[in-house]
């Protein structure tokens, strides 16, 4: 009996993961209005009934996507800081790159769609805000630890905030067109400032 149930649970889990994956891609590429449970099910090659078994409402689907996305971003941001270079300049550059990577890419584009829908939807906002606060804390903790592993620079806390707000602004600038060339210059300028401030 156990052996027969396991594969079914695995299939169910795989279907759920696939629906979540397709939802993120669809939010990023087609936007909030297009991303319904029915459209996601069709794009994922899953029957509408099976999709609704996992996510009875659009709110359930979006909530699950945001939880998964923020969990992934949080654990990425929480990853051990020991992997960073020992050399001061190289280390600061790697930390800034990691912070920017949180906000540039498909996940952020998808999150921005939910974020702007939440601006006029109190129910959705109540779901998003605690997840966002959790991510912000994890990203800040990671950035401070990586910038100042020996706790020698009290100003690292505030400089980490600047780094993350700048990264968020760069992410937003990249949503309508490829901003990577300009971004490289901005990142280099801030990295130089930050390395000097923490020397």
């Amino acid at each position: 009996m156990m052996r027969a149930r396991q594969p079914q649970q695995e299939r169910s889990r795989a279907t759920r993961d696939r629906l979540l994956y397709v939802t993120v891609e669809m939010l990023a590429a087609q936007g909030w209005s297009a991303t319904t449970v029915a459209a996601v099910a069709e794009a994922a090659g899953v029957s509408r009934g099976a999709a609704q078994h996992h996510f009875p409402t659009r709110e359930a689907l979006i909530t699950a996507v945001m939880e998964q996305m923020f969990d992934a971003m949080t654990s990425e941001a929480s990853a051990s800081a020991t992997e960073f270079p020992v050399d001061h300049e190289a280390r600061v550059a790697a930390v800034v790159d990691r912070a920017v990577a949180i906000y540039v890419g498909t996940d952020f584009k998808a999150a921005l769609q939910v974020w702007s829908a939440a601006a006029s939807d109190p129910g959705l906002r109540a779901v998003i805000l605690p997840l966002e606060a959790k991510l912000a804390r994890a990203a800040h903790r990671f950035t401070v630890t990586a910038l100042d592993p020996d706790g020698e620079h009290p100003e690292a806390h505030r400089l980490a905030q600047v780094t993350l707000d700048l990264a968020r602004g760069l992410g937003l600038a990249d949503t309508l067109s490829d901003d990577s060339r300009r971004r490289r210059q901005v990142v280099a300028t801030w990295t130089e400032q930050l390395a000097a401030a923490l020397r």
Copy 2:
């Protein structure tokens, strides 16, 4: 004849301005989906026919709103830099505050709604991108001139970019909840960095 026509033109102009004003408020408070020509007309106390005379389609309405908004932001950003304090620290603080003011507030919240809708709408994106590029140039020119009025610091160009990207990130952080307390600290930290870099 001329005297009779003038008031009608003025009334028509006032109706148009009122529709644009209500559209910005509605985008910021109720989001993209809610902001239709019919809903705006009703909230503005204008007949649907009169609203459609000015804006036959939603795209026409949104385009006009974005043009007006970007024009206002561009001219504000282009305002004379002579009004800024002479004292170096005070001047840098005033410039950073002005840059942040571009991205924090109702106009930015409304623009963000259009921005995220444009992410999946090539027609809308084609309207937004040139306006956004024009604003970015004006904001950058203003920030560079205000930070470095005598053209003594070539690095002012890149530091102005960092300032504006940071301001954009702070604007985004303020869209779902009031972030003003945290923002004050981030702004103070960057202002200090920037003043030191340009001393």
